[in-house]
Amino acid sequence: MTIPRLLMLTLLLIMVPTAQAHHVLGRPAYSLNEDSNTPPAMQIETQVGAYFVTFMAYPAFPKPGEPGRVNFYASRIDSGVSFSGPVTFTVRDDGLLIDSAPETLGQQMPDDGVYRQNYQFHQAGDYLVRAQFESDGEPYTVDFPLRIGDPAPIGPIGLAVALVALLLLSVNLSQRKRLARLKTQRHNAGRA
């Protein structure tokens, strides 16, 4: 390839229109609305089937015993038209090694395109809020994590400490045994 052609190709390559802002789907993001006195919110955006969905939790850091609310919004990816049928909200405990049955929070209709579901949790923990609806005969299920209260950090630390302690103890015991065996062998060899 000649140098001028290579240059042309390069210039074409770098003249592609620049990118616009985009969102990271499925990840919780915390936001603050400066224009109102609302508390910070936790928001997750994702897509499921033919719909783009947004989930917002108020407040961003809900505490046990305090009222909170989730807002849910779904619009078709192809046309942008908001979903307007009923949405059922359920919740289940999502803690490690917990297998709880889901409980229904309620069924909502949209108010100005947004489904609002109030809640109040009794206990701190990790929960999974599920929004279910039906569109074009297809059932849709969207899960969102919701943490109530502070996380339980002792879990990972405890696990790490237990793993390391167990390992070091086993190595120590095994090496002691090996040293004792060697000592006996040497002692026996010396006597023979």
Partner: protein, 532 residues
Amino acid sequence: MAWPIAELEATAAICSVAPAAATTETMVHPGLPIAWAAVAMLMMIGLSLPVLRGSPGNASRSDGDHMLSLTALPMIGPALHEALRRPWLLLTLRILTAALFLLLIAAGLFGSPIPERNLATVLTWTFWWTGIVIAVLLLGSAWCAICPWDALAAWLVRRRLWRRGAPHTSLNLRYPSWLRNQWPALSMLAGLTWLELGVGVTTSPYATALLGLAMVVMATTSMALFERKGFCQYVCPIGRTLGAYSTTVPVAVRPIDPLVCADCKTLECYHGTDQIEPCPTHLVIGRTDVNQFCTSCGACVQSCPSHNVSWGVRPVANEAMHHTRGHWDGAWFMVGLVALTSFHGLTMLPEWEQWMRHSARWIGDSGQLLWTFSLGMALSLVLIAGTFVVTIRLTQRLGPRQADFKPLFNNLALAVLPLAFAYHIAHNLSHMLRESHGTWAVFVNPFGRGTLPLSTTERHALMTLPIPEQLLFTLQAGLIVLGLGLAVRILGARARKIGLDRGVSRVPTTTFLLGVSGMNLWLLTQPMIMRM
């Protein structure tokens, strides 16, 4: 009666949100202007012409002939060498980084989940992750000398602060032969990229702390079971990445007088002494020009009875050009590095997002679209690595008759290393400079207690560049050009080594190098999402 998990409240709405507001604004950094990229591209084409003409690469030369030892520095040289010969300086630094690391884990587990307000995410992803790659440029693999998870593992297993541990504290097994290569580190690096870009640990202080804990557990397990530091040599993705990059930088631990090492019979640097640990990665530093696996731990500096080992400055990229041994696994690690760094940039394109959305719909993925991301990541890596394989096949055709694929691949893979290094720094530089403004507050309030998410005004303030934007662009474009320049020099030297003397046989690799550099340059012209 069982308590219900939650109950409905007939409270009035706490607040109301219109659908239009239900979309968060993602902050993006402006990219390199097109004009800058065009000038850089022209310079790169100019730089690669000599190698295409079949100009011979530099003849092989030993580091020792061109080494400038730290001890030769006027005034501070001997003092610094003396300080490094004693354990206190490094030990103090290790204690400091370990303390900071433990604080970071505590902040991640107990602190605010808002990433920009928590020390765990800010220190790890804005400063450390960005800073260590830049530090390699100036200090080689110095990070490993003060690595906190390695220090914690050593203290836990050897139960000594710095002295050589008793032999019975570890099982001292040999690393299994199937693990004695770079594949574990490459898999770990790919896993880390998946966690960073797919799962998004960069935005979760909790996940960041878990990652830190996992590193401690892995390093400790390896040290308790295996001899020396197999984790550093074969598994750690950070150490191996820094090790690979450090083959192109001038700063390294080297012998002061190679003749002293040539005559040495006792090899304390390799075996250690009563007090000092042996070389953790099995190096006889006085008899090798390969520092790729040196963790800059300083043990050889302290154990050498002739005081003949020190930090020093050697010719740029000399190791990669002439001394790094071309192994199959090591070569794949380098190709993996270039693929992973470019993939980083690729995920920030709007086309990537659209591709993710379409593919997710097609395969029925939802939530975090992790299946779609994993598929996209695998395809992108295969595409970049596959292009390199095709490049080597073409070289095989154009090169001397009956040239084997593996030696070509192993040697020419070294040439791609500076491309990964240069793009890694150029990309991270923008993140660090644009996102560090005002984040120092986390050092005062590491747990982020009582803080709120950043407001839009604060986000804009955060993105204030501490240097003129034009300077940042110059640095970014300059780095990419420098990377290509080094890559071409390495290509010249390696090509000569394997008999690719005709210019035409170098065309495929040169085109690959220019293609990757051009792609990286173009990625830099794109607006980039803020990391947090």
